[in-house]
């Protein structure tokens, strides 16, 4: 019977999603700001 550590799995997937989506949004926002400045 495998150990029940589902919470750790969910935490890792959520953290990775936050970093990847967050970085995408940060890049898009920085590009938008740079284009507004021009």
């Amino acid at each position: 019977m495998p150990p029940d550590n589902t919470n750790f799995m969910i935490a890792a997937y959520v953290v990775a999603a936050i970093i990847l989506v967050g970085y995408t949004l940060s890049l898009l926002a920085r590009i938008r700001d740079q284009r507004r400045r021009d």
Partner: protein, 233 residues
């Protein structure tokens, strides 16, 4: 084509590539969580492997690209190469952040500790901090030539660390598992798990390209703005 036009074009294309890659990440999540079997000894936490390993692949690839572009920059002295190297370094730091957060979350239930100062973990943290330093250095140097040269040297040193990090599990006694795919013999993983891992590696590679294009476009747009300010003054 002007720098601004190139930047705008690459930003549009990079946005599309990143959006496609993020949809791919969602598909990997679905496949890994719902359709890939639970490993018998580690349980559900083993599935962290399907994001941790591809993030490590993308992050280390980003740092190798930074190193290669840095060599090219020192040779050709083209500022666009310097901008591309810097873009790849920042993307590598973002992926390293995924490595350094998902790793400890796996380590706690499997090793019983969030962190241990063994060779693989310490050298990965060192590489991450080296490239954070690279980004900080670029922020404080105002002369473009000096910024390009200094950061290129750090970029090359970072690239040299990458194969060392891969080999740490063979060179030192370490808690970190040895490679199960990137090794001389056949991958030691059941087919359905291997398919999920390979799918994730492919998706993270495309995501790296998308991020790189967006960050490079940002660099070009910033460079165009700086050039116009310099011309105006």
């Amino acid at each position: 084509m002007t720098l601004r036009e190139s930047g705008a074009r690459i930003a549009r294309l990079g946005g599309v590539v990143t959006a496609v890659a993020l949809l791919g990440v969602a598909a990997v999540y679905l496949r890994a969580l719902k359709y890939t079997p639970v490993e018998a000894t580690q349980g559900a936490a083993q599935k962290i492997f399907y994001i941790h390993v591809p993030a490590a692949w993308a992050g280390l690839m980003a740092f190798v690209v930074t190193g290669l572009l840095s060599i090219l920059y020192l040779w050709l002295k083209d500022r666009r190469i310097d901008l591309a190297a810097a873009a790849s370094a920042e993307v590598g730091v973002a992926f390293s952040f995924v490595i350094l957060t998902t790793g400890p979350i796996w380590g706690k239930p499997i090793w019983g500790t969030w962190w241990t100062w063994d060779a693989r973990l310490t050298s990965t943290l060192f590489l991450f901090l080296l490239f954070v330093g690279y980004i900080v250095l670029r922020g404080v140097l105002t002369d473009p030539g000096m910024r390009g040269r200094f950061s290129a040297v750090i970029g090359i040193m970072g690239m040299i660390l990458v194969p060392f990090i891969h080999l740490t599990v063979y060179m030192f006694r370490t808690l970190h598992p040895a490679p199960i795919v990137l090794k001389p013999s056949r991958p030691s993983l059941p087919d359905d798990m291997l398919t999920t891992l390979m799918m994730s590696v492919a998706v993270f590679s495309v995501l790296y390209v998308g991020f790189l294009m967006l960050r490079y476009a940002l660099g070009l747009l910033h460079e165009a703005h700086e050039e116009e300010l310099a011309d105006a003054s």
